[in-house]
């Protein structure tokens, strides 16, 4: 250590700590200019690339034809074309309804799985089998099984529902399994010392869960839950396979009647309008969470 000190006191120049000029340009106001320029350049490059591909004009006609996009969006009852825009409302209510039920059921199932109560043992086994099953089966198969199986069973009102209802049942059944696992991971991530402290205060098992474990678990669990919510929104499109008139199905009808796929583009845009803000929000939450954890560790 003393040698370092000696070097400085004996007149050796201090090390240079300044970044080179071009790097300094990229911080502060320079950074804004640089990033805007590069963004414009990338977009222009991508669009021109698209335009010079051999099939560009066909693709533009079949997928990005503005008139067709407008017509698909609004629909045309005279020609039997359903509106992709209206049909998208079906996607929205399906995903909202499913999400609410999934959040409640998923939490209940997770709660059952982490509880140590002896009375709940058989339920715990059932729930475990259930989550293993539905995390393992591709959702499209669940939709087929529920959508074609339940009606075939011929059991009263359960067999006489609309395709959208069967679709929702399938989504709920599958996503409850995912979400239960997310919740469970959150619940078990709470440190054991927290449970010891709570029990030492004489809080009952249930109060410990409710007041101490759950509130801490929910925080860690919000971003992954939002991710599952985004997937759920997209997976409502799969319900089209049962014939429910949602956005994808409406676009399909348009495509097969008018021989133009611009309806699909409109449907994709509608999904993006819904999912992109949520995705951004989730990412922000996650990075804020990570920063907080880093701050705590230091």
């Amino acid at each position: 250590m003393t040698t370092t000190h000696d070097e400085h006191s004996s007149g050796v120049a201090p090390p240079n700590l300044l970044a080179p000029g071009y790097r300094r340009f990229f911080t502060g106001r320079g950074a804004v200019i640089a990033s805007s320029l590069s963004s414009v350049a990338v977009v222009v490059a991508l669009v021109s690339l698209f335009y010079i591909t051999p099939g560009s004009s066909e693709v533009r006609f079949f997928f990005f034809h503005l008139a067709d996009m407008g017509r698909a969006f609004l629909g045309d009852p005279a020609k039997g074309l359903s509106s992709v825009g209206l049909a998208f409302l079906t996607n929205i209510w399906m995903c909202l309804l499913c999400e609410i039920i999934v959040l409640v059921l998923g939490l209940t199932f997770a709660w059952v799985r982490v509880s140590r109560s002896a009375v709940l043992l058989p339920v715990r086994v059932l729930v475990t089998v259930y989550t293993d099953l539905f995390r393992g089966i591709p959702i499209i198969l669940v939709i087929y099984i529920v959508g074609f199986g339940l009606p075939a069973l011929n059991i009263g009102f359960l067999s006489h529902q609309s395709p959208a209802v069967y679709g929702c049942i399938s989504l709920i059944v599958t996503y409850t399994a995912y979400v239960a696992e997310v919740y469970r991971a959150g619940l078990t991530s709470v440190p054991n010392g927290q449970i010891l402290a709570a029990r030492s205060l004489g809080l009952t098992q249930q109060a410990t869960m409710q007041r101490i474990i759950l509130p801490q678990a929910v925080r860690t669990v919000v971003p992954p839950l939002l991710n599952d919510f985004i997937s759920l929104q997209k997976d409502t499109a799969l319900v089209s396979t049962l014939g429910a008139i949602e956005a994808t199905h409406a676009a399909q009808i348009y495509a097969s009647t008018e021989f133009n796929f611009s309806g699909y583009t409109i449907a994709a845009l509608l999904f993006l309008i819904l999912t992109v803000p949520l995705t951004r929000f989730t990412d922000q939450l996650m990075s804020r969470d990570r920063n907080k954890r880093l701050a705590q560790q230091s």
Partner: protein, 245 residues
Amino acid sequence: MTSSDILSFINVRKSFGANEVLRGVSLELQRHNVVCLIGSSGSGKSTLLRCANMLETIDGGDITLFGQSLTDPRVDPDLVRRQIGTVFQSFNLFPHLTVLDNLTVGPHYAQRRPLEVVRSEAIELLVRIGLESRAHDFPDRLSGGQQQRVAIARALAMQPALLLLDEVTSALDPSLVGEVLDLLSELADAGTTMLIATHEMGFARDVADRVAFLDQGVLVESGTPSEIFDNPQHPATQLFLQRVR
């Protein structure tokens, strides 16, 4: 055992698998008593404390709280724990609750006492530990010493019959140990009944009514601080004190 005993360990045995951790430990704690439990690492101090608040079940002997056997199957562990305040080495404050809510969560949700009452009691406790200005902060804003003082106040908020403290200064920066030990001395002066596992010999000498030395699960010697520290009888005690000095 006398009638003024709050907590008695009677020939307590506890094993983890083949590892016999407590081998017939007997110890009494009377009202207003401060007993310090010393002994090398692994001697069973923490285990003994955990048996007292029923976080561990014992394999033999008995533990009584106010003369009632804790091995009685009708005993509700939650009710036992409400009589016993526990403070841990690692604080274990609830990070999602403010300092004030850390203090009120037990009295309100375990004892079911009205929130206004437990809040004003909690504020009084915070005044007592000198942290009333931090009532609405979250624990991660506090220093380690402050957090441990809050943890002690959280235990006191339950108005327990006695406090169990397990090496409550071991996780602290040396500069922060003093404030916590000072608080414990104040509590001792105020007549709080405490069973303290500690490696702080100076503190044990100052504050303890009795010091008990645990060696490999056997309570080999107990007595007043001067008996234990100035004139230890058992060779194991002598060896241990030589090493820690």
